[in-house]
């Protein structure tokens, strides 16, 4: 090769090096690809770029932490009944009387509760007499009497002299942050336990889907043929019977109820939707060339399922999972609500909602806690599920 600036380089101010052959290292015969991101790095970056999905994930983590550690923070148990302090709301309207350090609150069942100004509940004030004619009840607190005039709506507290209190205050319930239920149990603690049950059900649903649904569907789809037909007919049969019936059946068989019957019922049938999804994936993936390649290599069917089919079906599997989990949570809550799920005194969001129905008019806050929690859990799972779906399969996004 000649360095050719001899005579012709008039038009271009060509330097010597300009016409040198390009060095071999600048020629990329087999270029190393640019450091691309792996599939999961892509998924992660797409997921965290979706605000609602991240928000949902944070909420879920918070709820899970509270479900685990919440009860030890409140220091109360789900079944400890304090019947003297029943139906106390999270915010109290307390009446102050001159000369009294503590204030008084009347609960919906016309019990008078002594409250400190910073919101601690002292005790239920004992009733000494009740005049049905004048609709006045007398309560005796530390030597001074308080009268309750329940002829008016709402009832009014009067001092021993029959005069109304100095003023009324709205104070936060410092002992029971979300109030107590009709049996005097701490609603907050029970909500934590309810969330615990909901998340446990979510965990069971996940495990069942992962262990049974994925394997069942994978085998059915990959093996195909008559095996597939039989396995899918079984799924069809399972699918025709409502889950509530299973729960009742399990309850009858076990003779006892509660959490275990729901878990057993879920475990025995809740994997069918996942099995269907995985089967569909396996059916389409098994004719892909990379699976054919694995077969010609001689990889045994189990290895093909594990190494090739399931990893490539993971997107739809995760998406289906995040859609099935909230529905499992809802099923548990619903079954408990209608009384065939978690048995009292165990707290489930469903049983709590049911209990709250009785006192709905006088103490609506009791319904609010479990329903808001279940809404939050469902929303969070759905947000996360949507985010995962978009992150795993950007093509699905409209």
């Amino acid at each position: 090769m000649a360095a050719g600036d001899t005579s012709t380089g008039r038009r271009d101010a060509a330097t010597v090096s300009d016409w040198d052959l390009l060095a071999a290292d600048r020629l990329r015969a087999q270029a190393v690809p640019r450091p691309g991101r792996s599939f999961w790095q892509d998924v992660w970056s797409r997921f965290i770029s979706r605000r609602m999905a991240v928000f949902g994930a944070v909420i879920l983590i918070l709820i899970a932490l509270l479900a685990v550690f919440g009860p030890s923070l409140t220091g109360r148990s789900y079944n400890r009944q304090e019947s003297s302090l029943a139906n106390i709301p999270p915010v109290l309207s307390a009446t102050e009387f001159a000369g009294q350090a503590n204030w008084f609150y009347v609960n919906p069942s016309l019990k008078v509760i002594e409250v400190t100004p910073d919101g601690h509940l002292v005790r239920q004030v004992p009733q000494v007499s009740d005049d049905m004619l004048t609709k006045r009840a007398i309560f005796e607190a530390d030597g001074t009497a308080v009268q309750l005039d329940y002829s008016r709506q709402p009832p009014v507290l009067l001092g021993a002299d029959g005069q109304p209190g100095e003023r009324t205050h709205l104070v936060w319930n410092a002992d029971y942050r979300l109030g107590t239920d009709a049996l005097g149990r701490d609603v907050l603690t029970r909500t934590f336990y309810g969330a615990r049950i909901s998340l446990a059900v979510a965990l069971v649903a996940t495990l069942v889907n992962a262990l049974i649904g994925i394997i069942y569907g994978g085998v059915s789809g990959y093996v195909g043929g008559a095996v597939d037909t039989v396995m899918m007919r079984i799924v069809d049969i399972i699918n025709t019977i409502p889950l509530a019936l299973y729960v009742i059946l399990v309850k009858v068989v076990l003779g006892s109820g509660g959490f275990s019957s729901i878990v057993i019922a879920l475990a025995s049938v809740y994997w069918v939707d996942m099995a269907r999804v995985v089967r569909g994936q396996a059916l389409s993936l098994k004719n892909q060339e990379f699976v054919l390649a694995a077969r010609t290599i001689g990889s045994p069917p189990g290895a093909i399922l594990r190494r090739h089919i399931l990893p490539n079906a993971l997107g739809p599997i995760i998406v289906t999972g995040t859609m099935l989990i909230p529905s499992a949570i809802f099923i548990e809550a619903f079954l408990s609500f209608i009384g065939i799920g978690i048995a009292p005194p165990m707290a489930s969001l469903g049983t709590m909602a049911n209990d709250a129905l009785a006192t709905l008019r006088s103490s609506p806050y009791q319904l609010l806690a479990p329903t808001a929690t279940i809404c939050l859990i469902m929303f969070a799972f759905n947000f996360v599920g949507d985010g995962l779906r978009d992150a795993l399969d950007p093509k699905l996004r409209a």
Binding site: R11, D12, W19, L22, R28, A29, Q30, S49, P394
Partner: protein
């Protein structure tokens, strides 16, 4: 030849994805060419060369993520670069028709084939009655040699073979006797025997209607048989343009030379190595300043990596974008063989 379509400095860029990590893809970096009336011009290139995007840019069929810029785009002397979507839609089919590689995705699978052609006609010509249109559609099906056209009028696309579907697409494209037919890899998905039939059909219809054809393909042999002029694209740029005969006789760009060398010719008892082009197609997100082919070119000079060559006019209607044609380029190791010295004396750089 009268110029029917003229394109100057067409650039098409795709925004890739929403994330900031994804760089824009410069699919077409600068393309200019003319298409004469009744002429067949081939656009040759490998995947990623920008040949299909060029065609789709011309007729406004790219998704909204594409940014198309053009200095001049005229059809029969009138600019069509600033037409609204509606005006473009009217233009497509009536004056510029397209045929794509995959006839299955171009046809609505739930609609009878006859109805689809009918719809295409009625969209542009509302004067015909239903009966007249049906007669016209059956005539078209017969023209593209679909057996039993009356019966086939009521068939669904899946009842047609790939070759027949492509005939239907051609029938649809030619229904309104367009001035230009843009055929984007029309025979790539077909077998050679069917390709032969389809190319003949295009040729016959062209003879009857005087339509100009822009034939986009990766197959140089198809171009050799069909086109009078060839445009060779690589990395979103035209590398070489020449009358077909001179391109095959005297390719003046190392890429074209490599492409021709990669073709195994049907010769008697040959067992020599093919001249392959090493490396892989360029990354269109960061094209760099130099010649996109330089990393794969065994004749590449330092200059090729530093700057993009202008076009050099090799002969009448034959231009090539290669620094080695420059008067200052050294004569040794030339890809252009013995003709090099003599040829290069006549080469003139063109304004870009």
């Amino acid at each position: 030849m009268e110029s029917l379509l003229e394109v100057r400095r067409l650039r098409t860029t795709f925004r890739a994805g929403r994330s900031r990590h994804d760089a824009a893809v410069q699919a077409v970096r600068s393309v200019d060419f003319q298409l004469g009336r009744g002429e067949t011009v081939g656009v040759v290139g490998e995947s990623g060369s920008g040949k299909s995007v060029t065609a789709l840019s011309l007729v406004g069929l790219l998704p909204k993520t594409a940014l198309v810029e053009v200095d001049k785009l005229t059809l029969d002397g009138a600019s069509i670069s600033h037409l609204s979507r509606r005006q473009l839609r009217d233009l497509r089919g009536r004056r510029i028709a397209m045929v794509f590689q995959d006839p299955m995705t171009s046809l609505n699978p739930l609609m009878r084939v006859g109805r689809q052609i009918d719809e295409m006609i009625s969209a542009h010509d509302r004067r015909l009655t239903r009966r007249e249109r049906k007669r016209r559609v059956i005539g078209l099906l017969a023209e593209v040699r679909i057996p039993e056209p009356e019966k086939r009028y009521n068939s669904y696309p899946h009842e047609f073979s790939g070759g027949m579907r492509q005939r239907v697409m051609i029938a649809m494209a030619m229904a309104l006797r367009p001035e230009i037919l843009i055929a984007d890899e029309p025979t790539t998905a077909l077998d050679v025997t069917i390709q032969d039939q389809v190319l003949r059909l295009m040729r016959r219809l062209q003879g009857e209607s005087g339509t100009s054809i822009l034939l986009i393909t990766h197959d140089l042999a198809v171009v050799a048989g069909m086109c009078s002029r060839v445009i060779v694209m690589y990395g979103g740029l035209i590398m070489e343009e020449a009358p077909t005969t001179s391109l095959f006789a005297q390719p003046m760009h190392p890429y074209t030379i490599g492409l021709l060398g990669s073709l195994p010719a049907l010769r008697q008892g040959q067992s020599d190595r093919l001249d392959s082009i090493p490396g892989a197609p360029p990354d269109m997100t960061a094209p760099g300043d130099g010649c996109p082919f330089a990393p794969r070119c065994k004749y590449a000079r330092v200059r090729c990596e530093r700057a993009l060559a202008p076009y050099y006019a090799v002969a009448d209607g034959h231009r090539s974008r290669c620094w080695l044609l420059d008067a200052a380029a050294p004569g040794a190791d030339s890809p252009f063989g013995e003709a090099d010295g003599e040829l290069r004396r006549k080469v003139v750089p063109l304004d870009d």
